[in-house]
């Protein structure tokens, strides 16, 4: 086994070495093109509405594409394909939660949010409430969720590069994480939302095209017979029940509970992700926001269907040992499948496909981190700086300046954290971000929009309660310590048995919002709720 692994790594390193130029060229092309777009967008970014919301002039289709680009992260692309390749059917479970979740956004959140907010999630959460405490809470939770998510993307970047460019040293991986960080700072500070949106649109097209190509080639190899592909995957994996649920989560009663927890977090998390929510401000009307979600559901759904083929294709074509040898968490299964389907290590076809898929994966990471950075720096500047620190008295110019500095700061923080987390399974990390979003943000959004008795105290209890519960439980879960795959190896302070805290923290977030409101001494502001409700359903006075 170990000789096999070493042989593989040698071959991959050699293959990558020969065609390293190709990979770097493609990647550089993407970077140059997106930097061009960024500078162009930067010239048109004058007002705060340009910086935060791209001037609100994108069409439903454009925004749907950008949402897909924002949402289909390295976790979807590398993590899900890798999970399917290693655990078969259980890897596929992720994508279903990720997709169904969009219905919550479509039916309950996208349109009212577009109608009643301006730049951030905090606009809607704080609308009826006392501004300073609720804005502080909304800003805190936005930044925490985004940093969790950023961490996952940064870790993905490091992993990819070690395989693709044959860089195995820690210093090399950290350098790549730093490069990603610097690029995202540049995209956001210069291009603002307009530049970020275009980068995400370009990336979505590249990702769909690249995935379509590999999916087509894999299906071609199996004569478009999905059953045959599944059979080959099951046989080659050498695992019993590869096509049935249970390989990853079915081992014990505890792991089943963990899966339930994950499932709930995935389906309720999307509509609470700040970087997704602010995308709805880039279109002019609620109808356009609805159209964006519909396009996003179509594009993302199609993409996840293709990841099934990618994942099972990798399982069918590669030796199971090769996938784990290259990356323990399976994150490199998709690029390895591309190499194999193109003719294998050392072949020109394989090298070209590997290069294409690698460049696409880089593009994916860059577009997503830009969106996340924008969400967190917007929230810092608009919610915390302008409305809390300056009490609404900051000028537009000052606010944008604060947003740009926040971008630089968040960029540096995520480079540091990304370097630390570079060996974690990226799909698992993103699931944590979903849990925090579902526990802290979603209850507050829904109560704010639909429950007239919701109060400031309710909002604070639900945001902080959901946030702290989720983060606290993760901190003492096997994700952070106690297992060979934990963030900190060799120590064990995990007493919370589940990897995903959603099962506890999401109901807690909802419960605290309700409890905080009914125990509140303060009466809800009826006038403000009338404004919010009428605006959110009719679009009156929408910016």
């Amino acid at each position: 086994m170990s000789t096999l692994n070493m042989g593989w790594q040698f071959a991959a390193g050699e293959g990558a070495g020969e065609h390293r130029t190709l990979i770097i060229t493609l990647f550089a092309l993407f970077v140059v093109a997106t930097l061009g777009i960024t500078v162009w967008a930067g010239r048109q970014t004058k007002s705060a509405a340009d910086f935060y919301a791209g001037g609100r002039q994108f069409t439903g289709f454009q925004n749907g594409l950008a949402i897909s680009g924002d949402y289909m992260s390295a976790a979807s692309f590398l993590g899900i394909a890798g999970s399917i390749a290693l655990f078969g059917y259980d890897g596929f479970l992720y994508s279903i939660g990720f997709l169904v979740a969009w219905l919550v956004a479509l039916l309950l959140v996208a349109e009212p949010l577009r109608n009643s907010g301006r730049y951030t999630m905090g606009d809607v959460l704080a609308y009826r409430m006392r501004q300073r405490p609720v804005r502080t809470a909304a800003g805190t939770s936005t930044i925490v969720v985004s940093i969790f998510y950023l961490l996952a993307q940064m870790a993905g970047a490091g992993v990819l590069v070690s395989l693709l460019l044959g860089i195995t040293s820690d210093g090399g991986k950290i350098a790549i994480v730093a490069l990603v960080g610097v690029l995202m700072i540049v995209y956001v500070t210069i291009g603002g939302m307009k530049g970020t949106t275009w980068v995400q649109m370009v990336k979505a097209v590249l990702l769909i095209a690249g995935t379509l190509l590999i999916t087509f080639l894999i299906l071609l190899k199996f004569n478009f017979n999905v059953s045959e592909l599944l059979g080959a995957a099951a046989t080659n994996s050498g695992k019993e029940g590869f096509l049935e649920p249970g390989l990853k989560y079915g081992a014990t009663a505890l792991s089943k509970l963990d899966f339930l927890s994950l499932g709930i977090a995935l389906v309720l998390g999307t509509a609470g992700l700040p970087h997704i929510l602010i995308r709805f401000y880039t279109v002019p009307t609620a109808q356009a926001a609805r159209k964006s979600v519909n396009w996003a559901i179509g594009i993302i759904g199609a993409f996840y269907l293709m990841t099934i083929v990618l994942g099972f294709g990798a399982a069918a074509l590669l030796k199971p040992g090769d996938i784990t040898a290259s990356n323990k968490a399976g994150n490199t299964a998709a690029p390895l499948a591309a190499l194999e389907i193109g003719g294998g290590s050392g072949s020109t076809g394989g090298a070209i496909l590997l290069a294409v898929i690698s460049a696409v994966a880089f593009a994916t990471i860059l577009a997503v981190v830009a969106g996340l950075t924008l969400a967190s720096s917007s929230s810092f500047a608009h919610d915390i700086y302008a409305n809390v620190i300056r009490r609404g008295k900051a000028t537009e110019k000052e606010e944008m300046k604060a947003a740009r500095w926040a971008t630089v700061f968040i960029g540096i923080v995520s480079i540091a954290l990304g370097a630390l987390a570079r060996d974690l399974n990226v799909a698992g990390l993103v699931a944590l971000a979903f849990a925090v979003a579902a526990s802290a943000n979603l209850p507050t959004i829904l109560y704010s929009l639909f429950w007239k008795r919701f109060t400031t105290q309710g909002a604070l209890w639900s945001i902080y309660g959901g946030l702290f519960a989720a983060v606290f439980l993760v901190l003492f879960s096997p994700v952070v310590s106690g297992k060979p795959t934990s963030m900190f190896k060799g120590v064990d302070f995990a007493w919370f048995p589940l990897e995903n805290p959603g099962l506890i923290s999401i109901p807690l977030g909802f419960l605290l919002g309700w409890l905080g409101s009914i125990l509140s001494k303060e009466e809800p502001d009826k006038g403000k709720y009338a404004e919010l409700e009428v605006k959110s359903l009719t679009g009156t006075g929408a910016h």
């Binding site: 479970l93 599944l230 649920p245 499932g263 608009h382 006038g527 409700e533």
Partner: protein, 121 residues
Amino acid sequence: MTTDAPPPQGGPEIQPTGPTTEQFVAVQESAEFGELRRAHRSFAFPLTVAFIAWYLLYVLMSNYAGGFMGTKVFGNINVALVFGLAQFLTTFLIAWFYSRHAATKLDPKAAAIKSRLEAGE
């Protein structure tokens, strides 16, 4: 907007004077708005409960009904895969269904209320 309200959404963007809070309260209490609210909630809320229940059924079946989920339907395609793909299908259908409802039942009502409110009536 009344002047004593807390800084509404911060930011110095010049805001046209919109309807007053009193006008918003009057609209909120009107029968017409009540109908719009009901048309949204009576559709979106039960449907949300339904698709979350349908999704949870899938999650629970994957967890606790492995034998059934592993039943082969044809070739190597088993119930689990069909069930998963059905989740994709229902997601697409619900999105389409809601959008049709919104376009025919919600948008006209919302537009009527909005134009009257913005005209200052």
